[in-house]
């Protein structure tokens, strides 16, 4: 038996291409692991009416960690149109496999490191090294939404004086989303962020919120953060409004270290931050729970590039590096990151987004050669 058993979910489109790239590197890096492939994505929605088959969930439970490629996602009408005709009318509904995996395995941390590697022509500035902890399970994405608005909900909301203004709006002319924050979820994402900052000796942890307007939910997480910050006196705790943060990330991103935010705000600032260091070709992420994790590049399946080996694998390779860190293989992780940084710096082997014409696998092989 190998030390690790790793689930590989390539998914759709370029997911297959970049998974091959990851395997080229993993084979060279000297990780003692067995790999198993699992089914996920659009193809299985079409064929089986289920983009995340039960057998894949069972498979993941028998592994230590998961490396995930990309999946194709389309609107509801298209999903129904592309479903296998034999399965139509039987109540199959498309759902996001990634969201389901987050829930099933309680992967409450979405970790988005954004680092400007030297020599990357797409770097907005040098010395950007941001790490974003985005809460992955609730907030604005808890999914408690209403359209049209049921009477009981409207009735209940009228307890609040400010609802009076909407009392008479016709039912089909009003939509409602909720922002739900719990002490458990807020505490644990903050704890992860602070512990990370302490472990890697980062100067500051910034909570990105809007407590002056969203008094109840914003104020709620702010209070928890302020209390927790007292336990980390060596770390500077900052509070930034989401709008101001958007400005600071453009103005002086190099002054920030660890950012922590609720689901929606985290989504926004991590995509912004990723763009500052090269965008989709470089953006990697980890979905991390207490005893399981799933690592992926943030880009989608890019169907029009599917099978062309055109896309930049660096996002996937950095996701692989995150996976090695999470497994505790720090030396291997450092080795991989060093190899990636070297390839970026030398600038000889580059995919189209960097102005080059190397293939996905060319880049992977170049990284592998530097291990």
């Amino acid at each position: 038996m190998s030390k690790y058993k790793i689930a590989l979910l390539p998914g759709d489109g370029v997911g297959q291409d970049i998974m091959e790239a990851a395997m080229i590197v993993l084979e060279r890096i000297g990780l003692e692991a067995d790999y198993v492939y699992g089914d996920i994505g659009w193809r299985f929605w079409c064929q089986e009416g289920n983009p995340l088959p039960e057998r894949t969930i069972s498979l993941l439970k028998e592994t230590d960690v998961c490396l995930f490629g990309a999946i194709t996602s389309k609107p509801k009408e298209d999903a129904l149109k592309e479903l296998n005709p034999d399965l139509r009318g039987r109540g199959y509904v498309y759902f996001s496999p990634i969201v389901r995996l987050r829930q099933e395995f309680d992967l409450y941390t979405n970790l988005r490191p954004c680092k400007a590697y030297a020599g990357n022509p797409l770097n907005y500035r040098d010395n950007i090294d941001l790490v974003i902890f985005r809460e992955n399970t609730e907030g604005m994405y808890a999914g408690v939404e209403f359209y049209p608005l049921p009477d009981q909900v409207r009735e209940a909301l009228l307890i609040h004086p400010k609802m009076k203004k909407f009392q008479d709006v016709p039912v089909e002319e009003i939509a409602l989303s909720t922002r739900i924050m719990t002490k458990k979820a807020c505490s644990r994402i903050l704890r992860r962020a602070f512990n990370y900052a302490r472990r890697y000796k980062r100067r500051s942890v910034t909570l990105v919120e809007k407590p002056n307007v969203l008094r109840e939910t914003g104020g709620f997480i702010l209070e928890i953060a302020r209390q927790m910050a007292k336990e980390y006196p060596e770390i500077e705790f900052r509070e930034a409004n989401i709008d101001a943060m958007a400005m600071w990330l453009v103005k002086n991103p190099q002054d920030y270290d660890v950012l922590v935010a609720e689901n929606l705000f985290g989504d926004i600032i991590s995509d912004l931050s990723a763009q500052l260091v090269g965008g989709l070709g470089f953006a990697c992420s980890g979905n991390i729970g207490d005893d399981y994790a799933l690592f992926e590049p943030t880009h989608g399946s890019a169907p029009k590039y599917s099978g062309l080996y055109k896309v930049n694998p660096i996002a996937m390779l950095l996701a692989t590096k995150m996976m090695l860190d999470w497994l505790g293989e720090e030396d291997l992780a450092k080795n991989l990151e060093r190899a990636v940084a070297q390839v970026i710096k030398e600038g000889k082997v580059r995919t189209y987004d960097l102005g080059g014409n190397s293939s996905t696998l060319d880049v992977a092989r170049e990284v592998a050669s530097k291990l």
Partner: protein
């Protein structure tokens, strides 16, 4: 989340000469005197409390630790507390060449991993498994490795029924899923 691959620090139940302790009965695991306790959280402190040489086990063990015992672990009468006390301490599994029949059932029914391995006696004799070693076990494959000593060994893999009960979190929950 229930996983089929667990890693933990070992406690090998042996005597002062390093011989595996065999036939550890449920009285030694959890004494009569504490049978009145019904709150699982209170049981951990008495685990192995009557086993000579191991009476302070509950103070030394940490959550995630793995116990290795000699043959016929859990001999004697059926008492659920003899399993629950280990759950209380967060012990992640027990491996032994064999278990008392009723003890084994009680553990399976609590969703607590108990695994049999014919190799344990020789591994302990050859000092290839010692207390403090970090071991990783895949109980679906029936394989394990001693990460500290870089030695692999095999176990009897968990049967489907045992695994399903484990995933469900116990016999009653499993029963509900069956229906």
């Amino acid at each position: 989340m229930k996983k089929s691959r667990l890693k933990g620090r070992l406690w090998v139940l042996c005597d002062s000469q390093g011989q595996l302790l065999e036939d550890i009965d449920t009285d030694q695991i959890y004494h009569n005197a504490y049978l009145y306790i019904t709150d699982v959280a209170q049981m951990g402190q008495y685990a192995l409390g009557s086993l000579k040489g191991w009476k302070d086990f509950s103070r030394k063990a940490s959550a995630g630790d793995i116990i290795v015992a000699g043959r016929n672990f859990g001999a004697g009468s059926s008492r659920q507390q003899a399993v629950d006390c280990f759950i209380s301490l967060g012990i992640s599994m027990i491996m032994a060449p064999s278990f008392g029949a009723i003890y084994f059932r009680n553990a399976v029914n609590s969703g607590f991993p108990v695994l049999r391995s014919a190799e344990i006696e020789s591994l302990v004799r050859n000092k290839e498994l010692e207390s403090g070693d970090i071991v990783k076990v895949d109980f679906r494959q029936g394989q394990a490795i001693n990460i500290t000593k870089k030695i692999s060994f095999t176990l009897e893999s968990m049967s489907d029924v045992q695994y399903q009960i484990y995933l469900a979190g116990g016999l009653f929950r499993y029963g509900r899923k069956l229906r």
